[in-house]
Amino acid sequence: MKKLLLLSVFALILFSCGNQKSKKQVAVQPVTEVAILSVDDLIKQSADLADKEVVVKGTVMHVCTHSGKRCFIMGSNEDITIRIEAGDKIGSFSQELMGSDIEITGVLREVKTDAQAHKPGEHAGEHAKGEHKEDAATEKAHKVIADSQEKSETVYFIEGIESKVL
């Protein structure tokens, strides 16, 4: 009996610690109303919505086979897609979701390519004219990077908070 009591107390302490934290998290989150977007609309407005909470609905066209930790939902055609990363609350996406319409609440994130991360123009701007001399090879390399930067595209994905099958 004593041992059972000891076990119960131990379990109670562990679980109560976890519950306190989740209560705090709920209290901090602001209550906001977010419009439900289609994938097409989300992609169009992606630059403005980066790092903001969004709600998007679309058809699941692919679920990561090995872990289910991410899926892709499509809009009006297969070229208009967005990747969804399953957050803690979602856990994972099941393969059975393929072809289902789902509604995802999450934060839209922006991924910059290497070419974009490297901005030689900005670095050069930090120096006064003539102060920063570069050889021809470096100039050429910077031009190549600048060109690829223009061609590169920004990729967006959603850090999923909640998902709902429609």
Binding site: L14, S67, A86, G91, E96, G99, S100
Partner: protein
């Protein structure tokens, strides 16, 4: 109560308590280790078939459904679309079907969950949301306690000081060697 006696009692009772969870984690750990050798969650059945369609650019829903009905496997239609490569991709419950409307060739990929293993893998990867994450953390703490308390239960010739530390060191050495060699 002496410390060693208390440890023995706690080790025994927590040990009983944690058996189920240890089995889940150990078995699913083996399956997940081999996730690139085979799909640990689903059995995947791939079958090819031929339809009567020729030189078509797209298929209507009734046409797709008639194809699905003719297949050996009973499948439920969800929706379909035409891919950029001109292939009709059909979503079915538990899988997908690809049909080439020009040649009539088709492939079905049907998934079936591995009954118990699927559930164990989901538990192992903490894919069931926040509550389970904390629950499994608690179980991990208990397992840690059982492992460490086990070191101090026996005394004498077969106790940790004279016998146990060799085996404990060996247990640490194996992952350490791999870590040093490959990380």
């Amino acid at each position: 109560m002496k410390i060693r006696k208390l440890l023995r009692i706690l080790h025994r009772d927590f040990g009983y308590f944690i058996v189920g969870m240890t089995i889940v984690y150990a078995l699913s750990g083996i399956f997940l280790n081999h996730r690139y050798d085979f799909n640990p969650d689903y059995k995947i059945f791939v079958s090819e078939f031929q339809t009567d369609f020729r030189n078509k650019t797209n298929l209507t829903q009734p046409e797709v459904e008639s194809v699905l009905q003719s297949l050996d496997q009973k499948v439920v239609y969800k929706k379909h679309y035409l891919t950029n490569r001109g292939i009709v991709k059909v979503f079915i419950e538990s899988g997908e079907v690809l049909i080439n409307p020009k040649t009539g060739e088709g492939v079905m990929r049907y998934l079936r969950k591995r009954p118990i293993i699927y559930g164990m893998n989901k538990l192992h990867t903490s894919s069931l949301g926040t509550v389970w994450k904390w629950g499994s953390d608690a179980m991990a703490v208990i397992l840690l306690f059982v492992a460490v308390s086990g070191l101090f239960i026996l005394k004498g010739k077969r106790g940790f000081n004279r016998w146990g530390w060799w085996l404990t060191a060996a247990g640490f050495a194996i992952p350490l060697v791999f870590a040093l060699l490959f990380i």
